[in-house]
Symmetry: D2
Subunit: 342 residues, 4 copies
């Protein structure tokens, strides 16, 4: 048995931990061979491989990034994509694929498995934690940790000076990072994409905070938006992957708060620091267990499935179902956090 | 409505986050008053109180320890304990208690609620994560993080030098910290109290590790024990709380490995660094949510219950049930980790 | 003997460590009394005091910010400023002042000492490390640490993806933080205010980096500027203290690199996270020793002086001299770092 | 020109940063070739080499350990050692050596340069900071940081519980790590090898600390010793390098304090966690500059010298002088810290 492994989509701490667990268990317990495909689906599409065995995965557990590289290549958007993948798998004598990635990468795995009989097992990956089938995805805890540490550092400035401090965190469509880091960091306002905010309400919270001789910390997800008519985003462009890029809500917010309240405001934009670096212990544990269970699914011939966390258990769910719906922040959960606003 | 709050048992990062959430939500949403009892059950027993309102909980979220102090005082071991508690609650016009603590502290709350009609809600706390009713307890993630960071640092020494590195972590009866940090840190041997280890097997793993030009890292829970006849603990004493204190398994292991393999070994004993300091983001989130839901239970008059984590939900379970059985490491889970040994 | 203490200017990790050392040694060894003045020179100007004794400084060593508050109030710009200070010092029976602050705060201390006979000792504080009389100022090491950790995290993203990563760090007039964190973090381009950069050269370095299959990390001080004609800053405003605020060089750079090279670029703006939070061990050590030696200067009646670090020694220098000239990055030192560019 | 590089002695964060800087500057600016010798002086002695060029040093800056391996092999204790080194250098066409190491490793370099005409430049390395010719050595700041973070975590336990917390840190002959981390961490007692401690005085400090309702933290260097007659070390053995190994002063102290004061005491032994892992920003900066200046010394033909830090400058000093005398903690400096004891 020879198993191919690939990683697709954006960077996410824990990818290497998955790869290592897959290879260690597959080699030692099931005597499988492995081959790495480079840069997500580009690898099997172009037959670009890299050797993958136990020495290759030594020491990678604590490292961010992915030794296999990544891309957002979609074989279904390429001429003859499926045929070329099939050929390259055959040429490399690959019997099954473990695909580690987000919605897009796994969506390809689901179709290859379901429609084309190419045996794939999925491992879910999204720093944003917005996948409905699993309690958590790896990388999320690390991102929340980075954001929380930043907020912690801002508190002392908030105590000493009378400034509004705005922190822009990741989260284009879901506010999980903002919500968790905002709660953990003791933010005074948390703004998420799921619920348009009222800039007047934000300014009220800001001003009520100053009254207790303490400066407010505002955590805002990059995808958060004010109510209709309250904001004109200064920059609406699309990035090279065709995603809309809404840069600047943090800076916009700082300026708008300054303008409306007369208080100085400063912005921190954490950017890609949230998705790089060594994974947290939680993420390494989760990623390792995902890897161990993914190779078990291969052994069981349980294809078209992905591994998922439920409580403390790792289960298997159909990829297609799992990626169908974005997991956004429940309004009830968001309002639970509201007790700390202002 | 006036609610008393107390914290009992050993130190655990997140205690202050619980207190803050209880007081913030109780004050702002339910207009309750609060009183803090000092040093666990000693507080209501002796009527030792401290003011507890929103200013008192400001800034405590990221801080380890507990602003209320702690002790292991058990009112059922004191003459007239229940009566004195009842009197002191009456004197302070306290209508309900939120008790934050481990098995012992919550056991008292269960009996006070169940047998004596004193309305208590429990919040579970154990750094060791060994409570069966909840997926995780706060403090555990922080402890695992501290231990994992220590193991990370040892890896470079392991690469450069040909020494065995032994890390002793907490866990007298359950090996959760050893298992999680050992897996997250990429340890080569993990020893837990649930399963007696064979020192010969340990030495085999150690030697097989040296063969790949890499020094082994051994993570051992303080309560781990070798097979019968393999060890005479150098020091068997009881601490001031009557618990047996088995110090020294880490150092014993290092010496025994040196003696048997001829390789040098060095020990790191993390001790109380695992249970102090700022809580991780995960633990602040969990502790905060526990606090929010505990005060909801008070409002609902749902006494004799404790809050618990199930997946991503906070639920309520009877305290008595919840503390009945120690949650130890499942042998299957431990053997899952075995693929990384040696 | 009764000594007043105040902290002025921007936030800086280590301020509390200075205050604690001054009070501990002054109280225990010299039996002085202390009084804290609130918010820099506003305190003695308005007679706004806070009690300052050993219990007041307990536990503050690891905390960022300042328990005394801060401001940028300049008594020489206030009517009757000197007279009012003299009166408030007399009213509080203050015999000497320890002023902890940057160029502005210390400049006031120098004039009060030199021209008006008000006995002041200075402790230098600038996160930017741009004070010529001392090898280092406290807070700087912490800021460099925060920036370096951010750069570390970006490296894994740089390895996995083909994006330019721009990090904007503090440093309006001096590039010390950019230089140290850029070198420590292994940045591929470091841009500092002391030397106008050529955007074409920056793009050359960026492109040469991509050739070794690695994405470039560009560290830019907030005060760095391109050559004449290469940049129009989008926003030139002044903050409430009258300082020119040049926000946005990081974002400008990312966009300009995208435009010129066709590569995607992402920006991280660390902002105030660099000046908040717990001080590094180095900064606590330096701040503590500054405090111990400042109170020695008071005891010796050595006024008009400030403490300074020379090698591993703490010395005293005239405040006036010390603050006369900005310590900028030596071109030779900057060019030493150039070996790592590109 | 072809330059050999080797690293000797104990592990120390920053070794890789030196190697990288030497190779980057030597290759890019001086067009030198490099060869790595494995495991300290064992490499040139046995002709064991490893390729060393720019790709080989990519990504190693933030990593602990040394890519060249290390040992304590002393060629002067080997038959024909010098001749064999000379032959292996000739065989590998090596014109000069950069030796990175502590007293022993540099002592060999001094003799090879001085007595045998083998051109060596030294880079000083000691985690203990006990080299007299330089203000600081790299690795020290990282070790102090690890120890300080541990002490920070213990403080919350100290606040909540009434226990004595003992932390054993590195420092066999010099107390620099204990002194710096103890001061930075706010320890209540600091014990160093330079001055025998009086266990009765220690217990007095411990008890006076409890009086302010706070538990004491005792930092002890591994080489600290009580006064004559107060202690019998339970274990006096020599390690494989012939150094005396005095394990256990931390644990001994905890037990002795328990016995004498009746208070519980707990020990943390940080061990090798202090000398592994990623170097601090300060250490990376220092190690990088040492490397840049070491290769400049090679270019200048300035052999028999080592680089050293003086203030913020890197200078060159004769190796022989530099390693002649151990830099111990000045009694005046130690007594300066005494104001924080008890």
């Amino acid at each position: 048995m020879r198993v191919g492994v690939l990683t697709g989509g954006g960077d996410c701490p824990g990818l290497n931990a998955v790869i290592r667990a897959v290879v260690r268990k597959g080699t030692q317990e099931y005597e499988y061979d492995f081959v790495g495909f480079r840069d997500g689906w580009r690898g099997p599409l172009e037959g670009d491989t890299v050797p993958l065995d136990i020495p290759a995965v030594r020491g990678i557990l604590p490292r961010g990034g992915t030794i296999l590289g990544s891309s957002r290549t979609n074989p279904f958007k390429q001429e003859d994509g499926v045929r070329r993948i099939r050929e390259n798998l055959a040429k490399n004598e690959v019997d099954a694929l473990v695909a580690i990635g987000g919605e897009d990468t796994l969506g390809v795995a689901a179709r290859l498995s379901g429609e084309h009989g190419i045996p794939c097992v999925g491992v879910p990956k999204t720093i944003d934690n917005d996948l409905s089938a699993t309690d958590y995805t790896f990388g999320f805890d690390t991102a929340v940790g980075v954001a929380t540490e930043a907020i912690d550092r801002l508190h002392t400035t908030a105590e000493s000076h009378m400034r509004v401090l705005v922190v822009e965190v990741m989260g284009r469509h879901a506010g999980w990072i903002a919500l968790h880091s905002g709660l953990a960091g003791g933010a005074n306002v948390i703004l998420i994409p799921e619920q348009r905010f009222d800039i007047e309400q934000v300014c009220d919270w800001v001003e009520s905070r100053f009254k207790v001789r303490y400066a407010p910390i505002v955590v805002v997800a990059e995808g958060a938006m004010p109510k209709d008519g309250q904001m004109v985003l200064k920059d609406d462009s699309t990035d090279s992957f065709g995603h809309v890029r809404l840069s600047g809500v943090g800076e916009w917010l700082a300026k708008e708060i300054e303008r409306r309240t007369g208080k100085e405001a400063r912005t921190t934009v954490l950017g890609h620091t949230q998705r790089g670096g060594t994974p947290s212990a939680f993420d390494r544990w989760l990623a390792t267990r995902f890897g161990l269970h993914a190779i078990d699914a291969v052994r069981d011939g349980d294809f078209g499935k992905m591994v998922a966390l439920r409580g403390t258990d790792i289960v298997r769910v159909p990829i297609a179902e799992a990626t169908a719906k974005l997991k956004t922040v429940d309004p009830k959960l968001y309002s639970e956090a509201g007790v700390f606003f202002g």
